[in-house]
Symmetry: C2
Subunit: 250 residues, 2 copies
């Protein structure tokens, strides 16, 4: 696993380097159709190409644009080359990279890394060894004196989240993997995407990071979140500091 | 004015340097009561002290914690030493510095600078000379194909914004000055804080930057935003790419 973790870190570096070379105004140009049926933006393409080049044949890959690449290996890199593509495309400085290493499904992920590109923050977790922000151990917040919920709104929301915005401190940052990591490091108490619209590439790394930080991740039905590595499967996501917070939101 | 602009840039550097010296977990410690009656957090205090030391007696100062300091000068530095204090205190990497230089009120501001500390982005405007992001000219977005509204939610929202979250792409980043600058650079189409809760320190720089980028700034009554340099005056803020966007929100 150490060898694969080193490759994952190299992938993060390669994506960041590739993205920094692109002028911001070109981030949002549409270049092709992705495996998921939505248009691929230039920034996604640049980022994914950089990732695939580093990984080569060392592992299988599941990525938003390229789909599943079977290299006959035991482990699969589950990648969102750009988490928060819309932010990146519009110029909102809050987007990143998400990579998980596992075998078949979210529950068997052994390593996850998420990097916030504009801020430089790196969130990481190794299964059974805790979660880290920039190398320092992190834990979810047990301080409920000033609760912050991070929500997906608009068509990604539902009646529940649309009501939550009236009475709570709300953030909506627009980058799911990083938003999950904000729960892991205690910056927020929940991240909630109530619609079944996220894929394993969006949350495989975030799930491990939240859980290793002492938090919990459910779907909108309150079930422990686990999906196979399959781009066709979409899920809701509720990452929380504690079951108590989940119950307030479900 | 050039001399004062140089001082403003030095203040930004000094605040950033001071903040980077503080361990993140100490950002949110309460250290005193501010001029506005809310508790001063350690990060606010550190940032404001750094600002006051650089400015000395070169200009008058209006700042959130220290209040108004009359040094008998023609110009006043209107400062929010930390824009997005709550984000900084909780560990959400989206907060910054806001400084405006003017005489008596928002409409006579001649220079504004806002820095997003985690991302390093610097937004600036000189009256009559346009707005800039990291030295490159910026303009508001005239592309209405994928509209993004940045809203203040929770108790800072109102019936209108609480409904907007159902049908639009919404961001709620939690740092007013930077959020206004995201409208200026075309990253979003509107920033709306419908409650009369912001002070001139929060938006004096952002107003100039949005207007110099071709955008417009109103209050929630649709009036052109202008308030005197006075911490007792609170206002709603609607910064938009165009009047058309304002009308959709009012």
């Amino acid at each position: 696993m150490d060898y694969l973790i080193d490759i994952a870190k190299e992938v993060v570096e390669a994506i960041e380097k590739a993205v920094r070379k692109v002028a911001r105004e070109n981030f949002g140009k549409e270049v092709a159709m992705g495996a998921d049926g939505t248009p691929t933006l230039y920034i996604d393409k640049v980022a994914e190409d950089a990732a695939l080049e580093v990984i080569g044949k060392e592992a299988n890959v599941l990525s938003e644009e390229a789909g599943y690449i079977d290299n006959g290996k035991k482990y699969t890199f589950v990648i969102d080359p750009i988490d928060g593509t819309r932010n990146a495309a519009h110029g909102i400085p809050f987007y990143g990279i998400s990579i998980a290493i596992g075998r078949k499904s979210v529950e068997d992920v052994e390593y996850g890394i998420v990097k916030n590109i504009p801020s430089g923050d790196v969130y990481e977790a190794i299964k059974g060894e805790g979660a880290y922000l920039n190398g320092k151990r992190i834990e979810v917040s047990e301080d409920y004196s000033d609760i912050i919920y991070i929500l997906a709104l608009g068509e990604s929301g539902n009646e529940k989240t649309w009501k939550l915005v009236k009475f709570n401190t709300i953030r909506a940052m627009g980058a799911a993997a990083i938003e999950m990591c904000l729960v892991a490091c205690g910056a927020a108490h929940a991240y909630f995407m109530p619609q079944e619209s996220l894929r394993t590439t969006d949350f495989a790394a975030g799930c491990l990071i939240v859980r290793e930080a002492g938090g919990e991740v459910y779907n909108a039905n309150g079930e422990v979140l686990n999906v196979p590595f399959d781009l066709k499967v979409r899920s809701s996501v509720l990452a929380v500091a504690s079951r108590k917070i989940a119950e307030a939101l479900l």
